[in-house]
């Protein structure tokens, strides 16, 4: 295998990333790095290039069909906020072609233990956000939620709420990625949109319900057992600004 000094770019989509990596493996090229062309910043010492324009999802479909578990690992790393995720996926796939399905038990390889770790982190965060997400009812009867997860888990969340609240219409907005999932009439639409300084008009019951919930939240705690550290362990502070009952507690140093 030859190592070269090129940085390979992909258009930010999952399928283009996979096709780029597959091409590199086929040509037996060990890249310096693989990067998203949207966030890529030019530097003096390396050259960036795009080797394929293939954005079909034929390959991702093939991987999904042959081994759904491996597909899930790759998809999760793609969605993660990990810095060198593209290279990790590259090395993981390189070894996966070599060893086949048993690759997932070979934690001795750094790329394998790393990708398992990342996938676990992404799934964990998605699971937590399914609980911590809070909808607010707007005047238009849309349910509206703001989230700011570390990883890009909007897809997991919208699938979850499509099954859970099929009769409602709702919007989940990812503040960090400026991405929005809209569910309306049995369909999910995901779009990139920046909604800075938006004014929300809430329905007339909204404030009352929030107050009722906060009352319940405060009442249900047993004061003889109070344990703020444990609370924070399970519900990290980074999520608090979007959790209705915790919002006012950010300033308090409990």
């Amino acid at each position: 295998m030859k190592t070269n000094n090129y940085i390979y770019l992909y258009d930010g989509s999952f399928s283009h990333l996979l096709n780029t990596i597959a091409n590199l493996i086929k040509e037996q090229i060990k890249p310096l790095n693989i990067q998203n062309e949207i966030t890529y910043q030019n530097d003096l010492f390396s050259t960036a290039l795009k080797i394929t324009n293939d954005t079909t999802d034929k390959l991702s479909y093939k991987i999904k069909k042959t081994n759904p578990y491996i597909y899930d690992l790759i998809l999760c790393s793609y969605l993660s906020a990990e810095e060198n995720k593209e290279l990790i996926i590259y090395y993981f796939l390189l070894n996966a072609y070599k060893y086949g399905a048993k690759i997932i038990y070979m934690r001795k390889l750094k790329c394998v233990s790393k990708i398992l770790e990342i996938a676990k982190y992404v799934h964990n965060e998605a699971h937590k956000m399914k609980g911590f997400l809070r909808f607010q009812e707007l005047k238009s009867h849309f349910l509206f939620a703001l989230v700011a997860p570390t990883n890009d888990i909007l897809g997991f969340l919208s699938n979850h709420f499509q099954k859970r609240l099929p009769k409602e219409k709702w919007i989940i907005y990812d503040e960090k990625r400026k991405k929005m999932a809209i569910y309306y009439q049995n369909k999910i639409y995901i779009t990139n949109i920046d909604i800075k300084n938006i004014k929300l008009l809430f329905s007339k019951d909204e404030k009352e319900m929030e107050q009722l919930w906060i009352t319940f939240f405060e009442t249900v705690a047993i004061k003889e057992r109070k344990n703020y550290r444990c609370q924070r362990n399970f519900m990290p502070k980074k999520y608090w600004h979007n959790i209705i009952e915790m919002r006012d507690k950010i300033e308090n140093n409990n």
């Binding site: 048993k102 038990y105 070979m106 934690r107 001795k108 233990s113 699971h127 937590k128 399914k130 609980g131 911590f132 997400l133 809070r134 909808f135 607010q136 009812e137 349910l143 939620a145 709420f161 099954k163 859970r164 609240l165 099929p166 009769k167 409602e168 019951d205 319900m209 107050q211 009722l212 919930w213 009352t215 319940f216 939240f217 009442t219 249900v220 705690a221 047993i222 004061k223 003889e224 057992r225 109070k226 344990n227 703020y228 550290r229 444990c230 609370q231 362990n233 399970f234 519900m235 959790i243 209705i244 009952e245 915790m246 409990n254």
Partner: protein, 406 residues
Amino acid sequence: MTLKDKLTILADGAKYDASCSSSGSSRSNCDGTGNASISGICHSFSSDGRCISLLKILMTNCCIFDCKYCLNRKSNNIKRAIFSPEEICEITMNFYRRNYIEGLFLSSGIIKNPDYTMEKLIETIYLLRKKYNFHGYIHCKAIPGCSSYLLKKLGNLVDRLSANVELPTNKSLKLLAPNKDNKKVTNIMQTVRENKNKYFVPAGQSTQLIIGATTDTDYDIMKNSENLYQKYQLKRVFYSAYIPVNKDKMLPMLKTPPLKREHRLYQADWLLRYYHYKTSDLLTIDNQNLNILIDPKANWALNHLNEFPKEINKASYYELLKIPGIGPTSAKRIIKSRAYYPLELNDLKKMGVVLKRAKYFILCNGKYFMPSKYFQKQFIYTNLVLIDEEPKNNSSRQLSLFYENK
């Protein structure tokens, strides 16, 4: 009385019930609101570190019973309230839509008689399921002494049913809860067990025991739990450290609830359910209480030190399970991985083995990790106790037991 006042009173009365899990049911949505998630979802964590997944309330805190330890007992002079079925449904639906909760936990004081109370509970839940079209998780308390006809009706509507044993021996029950009868509780468990299927109480049944209100030993408690798991196939037994809410000469006056003891009992309970231990492995007639300073699994290993250290690359699944610091997940990973290459100490860490516990009890390719002269009971014991003393581990381990997502 406003809705907010009622909620305050009736949530306050329900909060001592430890059960918070919303797992075990995969009820799907059919043209309505909500579904159940098989793993359960925690929606928030209260300031005591316990998870909030269900709207945990009483239908009413009026009660004809006079159990000494209970906040809602007849002889207490407190504000009483009652929710109408519509009120419960409205709050549940509004909370659920906003994703505050995973479902409803409905308990109640006993009004008039058990059957009347049960009918009221059924009315509420029927309304929620049929009129409001709610398909989320519902955990409901069964009222001991109700007719089996009503019990079966309720079981068809809910995901989990539970009846609380509260005290492990008949003697203490007579002392503190003179109106309660252990037989009535086990009757409920028997009926649920016989009828359980995909549509009837899909998430199974659970119960709760109070710890530290009587002189019962850990041996009494664990024997009782073991019996319940075997005989009625309970999903969970919850342990609740006694908190003095009433003054009574029959009750002990505790300054702080026995949280540490509760924690050790939960650990022992886990050993029964996931690690193939029996109560008799952990406790005997001569040694009736768990060691507070060290977890029961490490304690067992120290008492059977002649079986250790175990070779990681050869030990069977069941042998791996008995090593402190290795659980079902990491044991399975070890078995899978060692088929491809022999494991070393470093590999174990990547598999989720808690090395600071396990390192005293294992061999990797025949290698013990430190000079073999340190392989002795007193040395290991001291070190393990010190791990538990660290405050950071202490709090997180203690309450992690309430976090049920597995």
